[in-house]
């Protein structure tokens, strides 16, 4: 069972804050459950796989595309970008709440879905569960964060260790090269000096041959 919790501001009352929890098994496209609460009251409802298909067909929309839109609206909470609108109208008499969500377009909007939610008799239980869910999430994230931080530190240590070793290798290579070239040049110059001496001897011999 997967869950997400987002915060929404209905267009009818932008000041009000509602919390929307969507829960589903494996994939949203096979139906999902909704819990809506303003902290004092809570309502609940479900959207079945068949209803999703029907809504998509009503809008003459590809089902997959429709599910993508649903995810953006209800799970990722792209409301803040002004892309999706929510309306919440509470019907106290029938212990119901009418909830609808729509995609905002430049010239108007189109309704993605609407449903009647039933009032939950004990909203405190719902709020407790939501807070519990948030704390669990927070704990999980903290553990993950710590783990990643440690991993990061370890990688950084490894990197600087390898860098130091590489630097030593480079230094050793430079030193070896400089040293070998130095020795090579000294030995090479000895040979050249010998050649110069032999040339001198040859010239002297030539001169003395001319003289005689």
């Amino acid at each position: 069972m997967e869950k997400t919790l987002i915060r929404i501001h209905p267009v009818s009352d932008p000041e009000a804050v509602y919390f929307l929890q969507v829960s589903w098994e494996k994939d949203v496209s096979s139906g999902f459950g909704i819990i809506l609460t303003d902290g004092e009251r809570a309502w609940t409802g479900t959207v079945s796989e068949a209803e999703i298909s029907r809504e998509a067909a009503d809008m003459e929309m590809n089902r997959e595309k429709y599910v993508e839109e649903l995810k953006k609206a209800l799970i990722l909470g792209e409301e803040s970008a002004g892309k999706y609108n929510f309306t919440v109208s509470v019907d106290e008499e029938n212990a119901q709440c009418h909830f609808s969500y729509e995609r905002n377009l430049r010239d108007g909007s189109f309704r993605l879905g609407s449903l009647k939610l039933q009032k939950v008799p004990c909203p405190a239980d719902v709020v407790r569960e939501l807070i519990g869910y948030c704390l669990d999430c927070l704990g999980g994230l903290q553990v993950k964060n710590e783990h990643l931080q440690k991993e990061n530190e370890r990688l950084f240590c490894d990197l600087s260790d390898v860098e130091k070793r590489l630097e030593k290798c480079v230094e050793a290579k430079e030193e070896l090269e400089g040293d070998l070239y130095n020795r090579f040049v000294l030995v090479l110059n000895e040979k050249k000096m010998k050649i110069r001496n032999l040339q001198k001897l040859l010239n002297e011999a030539k001169e003395s041959a001319v003289d005689t």
Binding site: E163, E175, G178, Y181, L186, K191
Partner: protein, 263 residues
């Protein structure tokens, strides 16, 4: 004390009429063993060197050996030479590596045949001999990179895969403030690039000044403007390239043309 060599079997005559004085043995070969093997090859052995002694053989040096050296009258030769003679069954010519000490005459002879590092003027050398010769070079100076670059150019060694960046003077953009090495940004890929540049022959400098041929830049382009301003004042213009120039050149083993990496 002189060993009794009266009943050795002569196996060779390579040392016929040659007189040796063995001072000390070495490793598996004791002094007396070396002496009897000399006798087997027709040589004679004395306990103190005299006017007819060809050379003094030494395995391990001791006080007596030091005295012989100080007298400067005899050639003092390592026992390894003797072992090589036995092995090749011929009189192996002396080489500088065998000589612990040389008499003045031998020294003169060697000066004609070998340079002062013991490398022969006429005989070909090989890796092992050259290593020996190099080990006798006591001058431990390190050749500077620009001289190495010149040398490699002269002998056409500059196509070697380790010389990709030879002759280039490179400033790496890993200082938060240009020309301020104390502001080095640690743990970036650029410091690895700098090591790669050095490994493949470049001269990596901490200051962006006249004479720099390339500046290598990473993802952070915040200092490029300042560098270009600096470049306008330089007589010799440097190229500003992305670090990809380094990785691509290393990957292909040749310096890549900078134009497609310019910033």
């Amino acid at each position: 004390k002189a060993p009794d060599l009266s009943n050795v079997n002569k196996v060779s005559s390579m040392f016929e009429d040659v007189e040796f004085c063995v001072m000390t043995g070495m490793g598996r070969y004791s002094k007396s063993e070396l002496e009897s093997r000399i006798a087997e090859c027709g040589g004679s052995v004395v306990q103190n060197p005299g006017p007819d002694t060809y050379c003094v053989i030494v395995g391990a040096e001791n006080v007596r050996v030091k005295n012989i050296i100080a007298s400067n009258k005899y050639d003092v030769v390592k026992a390894e030479w003797l072992l090589q003679c036995f092995q090749s069954k011929m009189l192996v010519p002396w080489q500088p590596a065998f000589m612990i000490h040389m008499s003045p005459e031998t020294r003169e002879h060697f000066a004609r045949e070998y340079d002062c590092y013991g490398d022969s003027y006429t005989a070909d050398t090989d890796v092992a001999q050259l290593k020996e010769v190099f080990s006798r070079v006591k001058d431990n100076k390190k050749m500077p990179l620009d001289l190495i670059a010149e040398l490699e150019e002269r002998y056409s060694w500059n196509s070697c895969k380790l010389c990709i960046f030879r002759g280039n003077t490179i400033y790496v953009d890993y200082y938060a403030i240009i020309n301020k090495p104390s502001t080095k940004i640690h743990g970036t890929r650029l410091s690895i690039r700098a090591l790669e540049l050095r490994f493949y022959g470049a001269k990596v400098v901490p200051l962006l000044e006249e004479g720099v041929s390339h500046v290598v830049i990473g993802e952070d382009h915040s200092r490029v403007k300042e560098m270009k301003a600096l470049r306008r004042m330089f007589g010799k213009k440097f190229k500003i390239v992305s670090e990809l120039w380094v990785t691509e050149s290393v990957k292909e083993g040749v310096p890549k043309n900078e134009t497609q990496f310019l910033i």
